[in-house]
Symmetry: C2
Subunit: 206 residues, 2 copies
């Protein structure tokens, strides 16, 4: 995750700011401050102002931030002022939960393609989509210019699936399988593994 001047850890905080702003916006709130945002997120207000300063001015000293403007700016920076089609691979428990999850659409993403290896699943409908054979993935994602994939396949199959994604031109992978994926340098991977999150917290427990 190099090749930019802004530290990745700053980029990683922007979606968290955006999520908090969205919650405020749904209650009708119009203005916030780095102080209020910091309180809600457990981040210092100085850190928040420093993070924002990478991208120019988002508000005037002392008057706070206009929430809708700040949301627009963050969406533009994160390139989610559009809707990205996403390929989902692996229609087990997690995959099914992801298809039914209604939190993607308003936040920049839409599951556009679903794949599995199981002959009994291929061709079956799930939501509005038909499950396709993962062997066809490279051609299909390239044809439809899908740059993002979510891998919900078993650990054993995940690397093979990742290779197919890369072959099809996918540039960003969200991996639910509990293994680290080997991908070329220009492909971004994020991991969702509940156990690593739990293990990080037990360190602090008595």
């Amino acid at each position: 995750m190099a090749s930019t001047e802004i530290p990745d850890i700053v980029i990683g905080r922007l979606p968290v700011y955006l999520r908090a702003l969205s919650v405020m916006a749904t209650t009708g709130q119009e203005i916030t401050s780095s102080h209020e945002l910091g309180e809600k997120l457990g981040i210092s207000s100085a850190q928040i102002r420093k993070d924002f300063s990478h991208f120019g001015e988002f508000g005037k000293q002392g008057t706070g931030y206009r929430i809708s403007y700040l949301q627009d700016q963050l969406r533009r920076i994160l390139k989610i002022d559009r809707e990205w089609p996403v390929a989902l691979i692996g229609i087990g428990d997690v995959g099914q939960a992801l298809v039914r999850y209604n939190g993607f659409r308003d936040r920049g993403f839409r599951i556009a393609l679903v794949f599995d290896t199981d002959p009994e699943k291929i061709g079956q409908p799930i939501g509005d989509l038909a499950i396709q054979d993962v062997a066809t993935l490279p051609d299909v994602v390239r044809e439809q210019n899908v740059q993002i994939a979510m891998i919900a396949a078993p650990a054993k199959a995940a690397q093979d699936v990742a290779d197919l994604c890369v072959k099809g031109g996918v540039r960003a992978i969200l991996n639910y399988a509990p293994i680290n994926l080997a991908v070329p340098e220009n492909v971004y991977v994020q991991y969702i593994d509940p156990v690593t999150h739990l293990q990080r917290m037990t360190y602090y427990l008595a």
Copy 2:
């Protein structure tokens, strides 16, 4: 996440190291190096050695690390050389997937209690467990000394559920609901929100 001299970001990398070591161990590999580990994880070998140096010596210069020893040390540091009982709240799609997930047990955790608010679900079995009324949560988790909770409730209910967890003495929460939780300072929260992970990657896409 303060009150310790070791930066939280270092602690956050230890579970990732441990996961990579476990994959190596399953193939029968006995020795690794900071160089090999770094290659697999996309982290510099210098960073890995620096992270380990916070905890003393894990290997000798030039001979690499004995994988089983390193695993034991990391498990001890992360306090997962034992099995933590976990309370799961919200038996929807995500909750059901978590109950069926077989990746907890060997990695330090066991779902010991499941809760929901839905009268139709309360009392029903799921896996080896019976779904309990979330209203009873504070008493039950305190009685059984459960310090860890996973919240898979809808966004609207998540803060109320978190409050009940805190009331019962829970010290660590893994939150699947797409909102930030307000908790006392001595309670740790980690978030699993696929959208924030996706949004962090789109920044880098063309």
